[in-house]
């Protein structure tokens, strides 16, 4: 019995009127955990009940603690009929289960009802007493920390980055069970919320077990998603990166870097590489063997080395040994290095039992898992120790690669969900690898053995792995997975960036110091990651290579696409910008297999076009690299939509991109030629304008032949028009290779013309605005603390009678552009500012409806300083210096912030104890001191005072507020002066939310745990609630409020890496009904303003406390 959960229900406020006759409510609370339920007394006739209950104690094992949410239900007592539910609060107690995070959850939680929304608030205190569990075979994984952040969390150091962890759990969706026909929508929604809460708890626990197995202590880049498969069930899946993290504290931060690594290195056997199947020996990836060259793309792939244009359209049918099973491989595409690789991906068409088939998939997996970890890590270390990425490393380099690669290959999947890495981690980046496959959903027969789904993902991951291998890379970073479901068809997608990693972080780090030095020497800072990881003579795809423009020693491609964030050390010219490719494809309505087939036939063409658009738009902006690339393909009843977002930048290491050349198909036509030249001029103008806008003026390199902006077209390319072309045609179209400087668009029909036009329709953001979908905006580094996170959702009807691809494209394009425009307008007061981490999500909820949800954060920056920093050629070294400083600062910062972060809890405790013993004296003292310390510097306006009071109240002195006021002479004076009534005037502590992993101008001092919440809201009075917009507006606001309340209760003041993973909206206007599901997650943290940190140290802890809390009110 390893844990005791203690819950106390303190009070409620602003409850709804449940008894019309008296306009009051007789409220009581049910506290449920697992199968145990406690009840408070009924607090009669009040909308602000003071239960002040005893401690309800649940004695549970820690497995249960991890899986189950604490469920608090507020009810209205009714003597004659059934008690009416007012609403519920689910509290995830996971953050209490590991030592460094929160110690108590205490605060006001919105009482949420799936039909009525938020109905008042309840004050709850939750604690957990954990007993040590030494059982080695335990099923729980308490203590493993989870982070949504896709980089090493700010106050930790990565000792080892172990690698990929994944898990999925399936269940039947309560919404589709027979019982749903007879129960109320509320009961059904609650069953669903509870189930998902349970499932994600279970999932987290299972992932935690895997992490412990790998000897890690944390999961970073944890991404959990729900697949609502309808009839066939509910899948909760998660991926993450297992790490061993070390809390940065006085000692670890200042460990002498190099202590004696040579000894250990000697012991490492060099020749034990168990897997000689290295890159140079020609990877036997299916990629090479069975790809059909797909010519039109080739012409531009010559442009872009990173664009691999082998499109294998081979519809390969593998006869299945098991009778009825048919494997169809109708070419779901794989975007390897940015251009579509059509590769086999299996479409399971049979609905019968799948077990025998899967055994083959599963068993090797199990085998791989059992490989001892330390050994391979040592191997990897040895490889790296001998000098990574040496200058002309030749055979040595190959050897090195063999070593590290093999080490990673031992792993089932050498994937990393991180997008930002410690400096030096990323050695080379190959390009984007992606894989998609279309599946037909069928009922999950045995929820305990979710093999089908597991196998599906395993398959895709294998594919990704082999793509990476083909690019000469042994790992995939910035890895993510997603699904799109429509009826019974599901598209599974995975993508990442093939990369070569420095194994220093993949091992148990003893030799890091020395290694670090060597790496610094070997790979030139700021451009090393651009150097090609694959062999120049044995390129996996045709590419145009040049010597690196930075170090001139290694080859680089001319364009680089990645899914990761821009590495800190990268040298960038000018600023970055958000680049989107948008695409619609009509699809015939079809059933089951036919539908799946037609989708998988369409996919490669979509990938290809999305890629073409991205490339064109990139060139139009005069840039040469994309970061944070995310391609989303959404399936609907009668169309497919593709939306790719990325942040374009100009990498100094890569060559200057050529321009775009337009070529007409029919020469000798005067007006046509004129038109073409007109367009050409427009394009050239746009490029010039963009270069100015984004300040792209790379230093001239005289010795290199940089292609003239518009050189002679040596090759003509034709944009791929999809549907009609069969694979046969495609092979014929194979054109020869050759270097090309400009990108040629041939206009052969009106469609192509439209495409060119649409290229030019992207309006640059208004002045003062920049946007990107990465964490930080390249080229801006002077952020000011003001941030505004927002979610915008639009649903539009594509009301064309005879929609064509072109009109749909235009509609979709307009929709996105208008949405962006509207965002710029809304946030105009923040100028100059940058929209960071702009995340678009597209859904096709119904036939003609398109839903776009955007979450992003607007951050203001100091224009003058930003400009300066930009112009300075030494920008990089400055950044370096600043990071160095930061690290050195770490120690003192930690010292002074530590008492601070732990502080918020103690007063709460005291007050509660005080309240229970009816004295309240310590609490009062505390409050006095709090008031005084901040009164001194900041209480001129009445607003400030209200803030001040809010802090007092927030600290948990709910019950004793009034007495507090009397106890403190200051508070009394305040009352007299300001005459604000006691007890009614608390403001709520400010909780910042951001999709980024950091807060500008602030230091994160503590991670309190993961926030992962799932809500359903339903209404049967849609019109009365302000229509669909009113309904959703309120719901999103409620979700934010609940996230903030949970964070505040944990003692935090911000959520970082916030993400809205799902927003499923359904309406039935005829019935006046609507339903919406939202899933959000993020990391709850405590941050301290950097400006306050400087002031803090001389102050005693108690006095420092309000400063920390008050600082965040400056939003």
């Amino acid at each position: 019995m390893p844990g005791k959960l203690k819950v106390k229900i303190v009070a409620g406020r602003h409850l709804p009127v449940m008894d019309r006759a008296s306009d009051l409510t007789d409220a009581f609370v049910e506290v449920k955990f697992g199968n145990t339920t406690f009840k408070t007394d009924v607090y009669p006739k009040s909308l602000n009940p003071q239960w002040n209950s005893e401690w309800f104690k649940f004695e549970v094992d820690d497995e249960e603690l991890q899986d189950e949410p604490l469920q608090i239900t507020v009810l209205d007592h009714d003597t004659y009929s059934a008690n009416d539910a007012i609403g519920k609060v689910y509290i995830d107690i996971d953050p209490l289960l590991y030592s460094e995070a929160a110690t108590v959850i205490s605060g006001w939680f919105p009482i949420y009802d799936t039909i009525h929304g938020i109905r008042g608030e309840i004050n709850v205190v939750v604690k957990v007493d954990l007993f040590n569990d030494l059982n080695r075979f335990r099923q729980s994984s308490c203590g493993v920390k989870f982070f949504c952040t896709t980089s090493i969390p700010k106050c930790y150091r990565a000792v080892v980055i172990h690698g990929f962890v994944e898990e999925l759990v399936v269940n039947e969706d309560p919404e589709y069970q027979w019982i749903d026909r007879i129960r109320t929508p509320r009961a059904s929604n609650e069953a669903r919320q509870r189930l998902i809460s349970l499932m994600s708890g279970e999932l987290q626990r299972k992932i935690g077990l895997k992490v412990l197995e790998m000897r890690g202590n944390a999961v970073v880049g944890y991404l959990q998603c729900f697949d609502l498969e309808g009839e066939s069930g509910l899948v909760v899946r998660a991926i993450g990166t297992a790490c061993t993290l070390d809390k940065l504290s006085n000692t670890s931060a200042f460990l002498p870097a190099c202590n004696s690594p040579s000894k250990e290195m000697k012991e490492i056997p060099f020749n034990e590489d168990p897997n000689p199947n290295t890159y140079s020996s020609g990877p036997s990836t299916p990629l090479k063997n069975q790809t059909y060259s797909f010519s039109p793309s080739k012409s531009y792939s010559r442009q872009s080395s990173s664009s691999d244009t082998d499109l294998s359209l081979t519809p390969k049918t593998a006869p299945s040994p098991q009778g009825p099973r048919i494997f169809l491989f109708p070419s779901s595409p794989t975007l390897s290095c940015d251009s579509p690789h059509l590769k086999k991906s299996c479409l399971l068409l049979s609905g019968s039992s799948i077990k025998p088939l899967h055994s083959s998939h599963v068993s090797p997996v199990v085998l791989r898992k059992s490989v001892s970890f330390t050994e391979e890590l040592l191997l990897a270390a040895s490889g790296m120790g001998s000098g990574s990425a040496g200058k002309e490393g030749g055979p040595f380099k190959t050897l090195l690669r063999q070593q590290t690669q093999s080490a990673l290959e031992q792993r089932e999947f050498p994937f990393f969900t991180l997008t930002t890495f410690p400096p030096g981690f990323l050695v080379h980046v190959g390009g984007v690898v992606s894989a998609r496959s279309v599946k037909l959903l069928d009922r999950i027969h045995n929820p305990d053995e979710p093999e089908t789904r597991d196998a599906w993902w395993a398959e895709i991951r294998q594919e990704i792995k082999s793509h990476a291998k083909a690019l000469g890379c042994h790992a995939v970073v910035g890895y993510s997975e997603s699904t799109s479901i429509c009826e019974e068809v599901c598209i599974l997608s995975a993508s990442g960036t093939a990369a070569v990693l420095n194994p220093r972080f993949l091992q148990d780090g003893t030799m890091e110091g020395c290694l670090e030095q060597r790496i610094e020497e070997a790979s030139p800072p700021g451009c090393g990651f651009c150097h090609i990881p694959y062999d120049e003579l044995n390129m996996p795809f045709p590419a145009h290579l040049t010597y690196c423009y930075n170090c001139r020693k290694q080859k680089v491609p001319d364009v680089l696409f990645t899914t990761i964030d821009l590495p800190v050390e990268a040298i960038v010219v000018g600023k970055g910008c958000l680049i989107q490719a948008r695409l619609c494809r009509l699809k015939k309505k079809a059933q089951a297999e036919a539908n799946a087939t037609s989708i998988s036939n369409l996919l490669p063409f979509m990938e290809y076009e999305v890629h073409t658009q991205l490339m064109n738009k990139l060139k139009l902006r005069g840039m040469n690299a994309l970061f944070g690339l995310r391609i989303q393909i959404t399936v609907g009843e009668n169309m497919l939509m593709g939306l790719a977002s990325a942040t374009g930048v100009y990498l100094a290491a890569l060559p200057t991109p050529g321009g775009i050349q337009i070529a007409g198909k029919t020469p000798n036509d005067g007006t046509y030629e004129q038109h073409i030249s007109h367009m050409q001029k427009k394009i050239n103008d746009t490029i010039a304008k963009n270069k100015e806008l984004y300040e792209i003026n790379p230093p001239e390199l005289p010795e290199e032949i940089i292609g003239s902006p518009i050189p002679e077209p040596r090759q003509r390319s034709r944009l791929l028009r999809s549907q009609s072309e069969s694979s046969d045609e495609v092979t014929e179209l194979d054109l020869s290779h050759g270097k090309k400087d400009a990108f040629v668009l041939e206009i052969d029909d009106t469609d192509a013309m439209e495409d060119v036009h649409s290229l030019l329709t992207d309006v640059p953001p208004p002045s003062g605005f920049y946007s990107c979908n990465t964490e930080i905006m390249p080229g801006i580094n002077n952020w000011t603390p003001e941030i505004q996170m927002f979610t915008a959702v639009r649903v539009s009807r594509l009301s064309n009678i005879n929609p064509t691809n072109q009109t749909l494209n235009k509609n979709f394009n307009d929709l996105c552009e208008n949405l962006l425009k509207s965002l710029y307008f809304k946030l105009r007061s923040m100028v100059p500012c940058c929209l960071c981490h702009v995340n678009f999500t597209v859904a096709l909820p119904e036939d003609e409806l398109v839903q776009i949800a955007v979450t992003a954060v607007a951050i203001t920056y100091d224009k003058n300083q930003a400009l300066q920093a930009n112009k300075a050629p030494t920008e990089k070294s400055q950044q370096r210096a600043s990071t160095d400083n930061e690290e050195q600062l770490q120690f003192p910062l930690e010292l002074c912030s530590d008492p601070l972060s732990s502080q918020p809890f103690s007063p709460a405790k005291e007050v509660l104890e005080g309240a229970s013993s009816h004295t309240g004296i310590p609490a009062a003292q505390r409050a006095t001191s709090v008031d005084y310390s901040s009164f001194a510097d900041r209480c001129n306006s009445w607003i400030e005072l209200i803030k001040l009071k809010a802090q007092t109240i927030r600290r948990g002195s709910i019950k004793t507020t009034t007495s507090l006021e009397k106890a403190s002479p200051l508070a009394e004076g305040y009352l007299r002066h300001r005459s604000v009534p006691s007890g009614t005037n608390s403001t709520v502590s400010v909780v910042k939310m951001t999709p980024l992993s950091f807060l500008p101008g602030a230091k994160i001092t503590k991670y309190l745990g993961i926030i992962n919440m799932f809500f359903i809201r339903e209404t049967t009075s849609l019109r009365e609630e302000g229509g669909v917009s009113g309904f959703l507006h309120a719901f999103i606001a409620e979700v934010f409020a609940m996230v903030r309340a949970h964070v505040a209760a944990l003692g935090g003041n911000a959520v970082v890496s916030y993400i809205m993973k799902q927003c499923v909206f359904m309406e039935n206007p005829n019935k006046n009904q609507a339903q919406c599901l939202i899933n959000v997650s993020g990391d709850a943290v405590v941050f301290v303003r950097e400006s306050e940190l400087e002031v803090l140290p001389p102050q005693p802890a108690a006095a420092a406390q309000p400063t920390g809390a008050a600082g965040d009110v400056t939003t």
């Binding site: 406020r13 602003h14 006001w108 919105p110 938020i118 608030e121 208004p766 505004q788 996170m789 927002f790 979610t791 915008a792 639009r794 649903v795 539009s796 009807r797 594509l798 009301s799 509609n811 929709l815 208008n818 425009k821 509207s822 965002l823 307008f825 809304k826 105009r828 409806l849 009445w942 607003i943 803030k947 809010a950 005459s979 604000v980 009534p981 009614t984 005037n985 608390s986 403001t987 709520v988 400010v990 909780v991 910042k992 302000g1026 669909v1028 917009s1029 009113g1030 959703l1032 507006h1033 309120a1034 999103i1036 606001a1037 409620e1038 934010f1040 409020a1041 609940m1042 903030r1044 009110v1113 400056t1114 939003t1115």
Partner: protein, 357 residues
């Protein structure tokens, strides 16, 4: 392609002051968009009408959701749904409870009932304040009235506490509540020259000097009601005009003090008895609700108008009131000096405030 659903929700709730004003003024979304267009926003921000519409709708929705909370401002501070910086919250409350003085002037002294609300159409037409805005402001008055009606203690401070209003606004509301409670007549033609500000100042002086709170902060009666005992006592003051001797002595004291000091000495001498009678009787009538209504009418009719027709200057009036109030101290046999001064303090303040064109 039409947008069925279009929402924007910020973690910090965006408040556009201009749109808030338009919303408070009762404009529909379409009207608000038209007004914003006229303001040249489109050109300044290089955006489109559609964007402006979407933005306006977002703000309107936010305000509609906030309105419920604005009805009880302390809840706005406590609520968790909208994260609004305190200075913005203050602005929201302040603007929501700000009112048009023209409208308030019209409603002063009227019963804040459904009947009055129905007449708002006419008020709206007369004052030029939009009807929706009129209704909102009326509801504000009524809400504040209901909330403090039964509360003890100083009215303005109660209002400030319950509605978190800035002190000056709270005082104005206190005046409105005071008038609504006592139902003073303010609509008569001869009172038309008095502004809301005049009445508010009068109400404040009356509450300051006459109410229970003025004497004992822990008083049992709400400030909106003038204390019964005080009003009853005022009858005692009649002796100043009913007792011939006292009246004469009073006159001679005042006149001797003012001789040569005011420009209208002769007129004063001629009218003293009438003035004194008016001033004392106004107080004596306050016990009867019906007579209370005429308080201001009486003051204007019997004091201000005669003085004005005699071309008194405000300075003259001040001096006169000063000595008129002080003189009874020296009257033998007059035992109500404290009461008299308390009474006259408010009357003087009112008269001085009201004495203008």
């Amino acid at each position: 392609m039409s947008s069925d659903l279009d929402v924007f929700v910020g973690n910090t709730t965006l408040i556009d002051e201009e749109v808030y004003r338009l919303w408070l003024d009762g404009h529909s979304v379409a009207e608000a968009v038209a007004r914003r267009l006229r303001g040249g926003l489109l050109e300044r921000e290089a955006t489109s009408v559609a964007v402006l519409q979407s933005d306006t709708r977002d703000h309107y929705r936010t305000f509609q959701m906030l309105e419920r909370l604005l009805h009880a401002p302390p809840r706005l501070l406590q609520q968790l749904l909208f994260q609004i910086p305190p200075e913005r919250q203050a602005l929201l409350v302040q603007r929501y409870y700000a009112f048009d003085e023209a409208l308030a002037r019209e409603l002063l002294g009227k019963k804040l009932s459904k009947g009055t609300k129905k007449e708002l159409d006419e008020v709206s037409a007369r004052t030029g304040v939009g009807i929706r805005s009129c209704r909102r402001q009326f509801d504000n008055f009524k809400r504040v009235f209901k909330a403090v009606e039964e509360l003890r203690g100083p009215l303005a401070e109660n209002i400030q506490q319950l509605f978190l209003l800035p002190p000056s606004l709270a005082r104005d509301y206190a005046a409105i509540v005071f008038f609504a409670n006592s139902r003073f007549e303010t609509g008569k033609r001869r009172l038309q020259f008095l502004s809301f500000g005049d009445f508010a100042a009068c109400a404040q002086s009356m509450m300051a000097h006459w109410s229970q709170g003025a004497l004992a902060p822990e008083a049992a009666e709400p400030d909106g009601d003038l204390p019964k005992s005080f009003l009853q006592d005022l009858k005692e003051l009649k002796v100043l005009v009913t007792d011939k001797d006292l009246l004469d002595q009073h006159k001679s004291l005042v006149c001797s003090a003012l001789r040569g000091k005011i420009s209208v000495y002769n007129e004063l001498e001629a009218n003293f008895k009438a003035l004194s009678r008016a001033l004392v009787n106004v107080g004596g009538k306050l016990t009867h609700a019906r007579d209370v209504r005429d308080f201001f009418v009486d003051l204007v009719e019997k004091v201000i108008e005669p003085c004005r027709s005699d071309k008194w200057s405000p300075g003259d009036l001040r001096l006169f009131l000063q000595h008129y109030t002080a003189a009874p101290r020296n009257l033998p046999g007059f035992r109500h000096q404290a009461l008299w001064e308390r009474y006259m303090a408010a009357i003087s303040a009112c008269l001085l405030r009201m004495f203008h064109d």
